[in-house]
């Protein structure tokens, strides 16, 4: 089966994807079924789409007070007018959140599985209870109401990214501009430790060893002292052309 186009949901400002969040009312004056002949026009021919077996994808919104709204529909249906409060909906809404579980996603093939699910019990278009489920969900109690700050705190406590559904290929927070200096410091420390561990620590040199430096060494600036030579090497002393190239 082809991967299906998902519903979208705006959850208190976060744009998320859900395989299928809810269902449409059986008949509603604001919703037009484009597969049926229009009263004052021709019938649209809607070819089948293998990525949209149910014939439509919907956009939803969960507002701060816990009310669920239908904001848009694509393909077979058309929504006219303002968003509809989904009072026809009584169900449990499942919204996957967190990093993608690559192993389980590969097993299912057509669905991205994430590490947790945010679940809402909706009654007549209003959220009455919620819970955050990691794993099977057994024994996780439902909490009454819809308290977004509390839900956010719970997500944070469970280590779920603040993006809720992070892109699997993005670097997310780990490589943000704020964390780069820290990463640079850590890399430098690791290199430093590696050098200390694998190099000749505590190597004894005799004073005669330093004579080795002179063997085969021809002074590029015989008329300049060390400090002036360094300045010449770096381009702010005598002209660099005095070095034999």
């Amino acid at each position: 089966m082809t991967v299906q186009i998902q519903d979208s949901v705006v959850l208190c400002g976060h744009h998320l994807g859900v395989v299928q969040l809810g269902y449409l009312p059986s008949a509603h004056p604001a919703i037009t079924d484009l597969s049926q002949p229009l009263p004052d026009g021709p019938r649209f021919h809607l070819p089948k789409c293998s990525a949209l077996h149910r014939g439509y994808a919907a956009a939803w919104e969960i507002r701060d007070d816990g009310s669920l709204y239908l904001t848009d529909i694509i393909y077979r249906y058309h929504l006219q007018g303002p968003p509809l409060h989904a009072i026809w909906m009584t169900l449990i809404v499942y919204i996957p959140v967190g990093d993608i579980d690559a192993t389980r996603s590969r097993e299912l093939r057509y669905e991205l599985v994430r590490e947790a699910t945010l679940q809402f019990k909706v009654v007549d278009g209003m959220i009455h209870q919620w819970r955050l489920v990691k794993g099977s969900g057994q024994g996780i109690r439902w909490k009454n109401g819809f308290d977004w700050p509390n839900i956010t705190a719970m997500l944070k406590a469970q280590g779920i990214s603040s993006e809720l559904q992070p892109d699997p290929y993005s670097h997310s927070d780990k490589f943000s501009d704020e964390s780069l200096p820290r990463i640079a410091r850590e890399c430098a420390d690791l290199l430093r430790r590696a050098k200390l561990q694998y190099s000749d620590v505590g190597k004894k040199l005799s004073e005669d060893d330093w004579d080795m430096l002179r063997r085969g060494w021809a002074d590029p600036f015989p008329k300049l002292d060390a400090h002036a030579s360094v300045r010449a090497f770096r381009g702010h002393g005598p002209p660099v052309t005095s070095i034999t190239l």
């Binding site: 640079a184 890399c187 430098a188 290199l191 430093r192 050098k195 200390l196 190099s199 000749d200 620590v201 505590g202 190597k203 004894k204 040199l205 005799s206 004073e207 060893d209 330093w210 080795m212 430096l213 002179r214 063997r215 085969g216 060494w217 021809a218 002074d219 590029p220 002292d225 060390a226 400090h227 030579s229 360094v230 090497f233 770096r234 381009g235 702010h236 070095i243």
Partner: protein, 132 residues
Amino acid sequence: MITAIDTSVLLIITRKEPRWEKWREALTKAASEGPLVVCCVVFGEFSWGYDSVNLALERLHTLHIHYDPISHETARSAYHDYLKALPYRNPELRLLPYHLINSHAALQADRLAVDTIIDPRHYYPSPKLLLC
């Protein structure tokens, strides 16, 4: 403790300029405390006196002075400092080699052995310095 060495110190020892014996003692002691390293700038400058890279590497290897390539972080840090210094009139601070040596010693070593006429902090503000 990793000690980065500046070209000035290598030149003083090699040419036996004044205070070369103090530097020899200091570096011999530093070698007993940890690796001695040179960055790309110092290696490039000092190796110019030898006929070939291999000979330069061999001589430094005898003294357990390692050629330590510049890491990505060091390169970025050096260029950042260089850009910051560009508006200033001081000609030395507008030369990238100083910033590379400074960042290398600060990020990839624990101190820098350097000999300058004026205050070395003027050229190398970041690392801990080994002076004679």
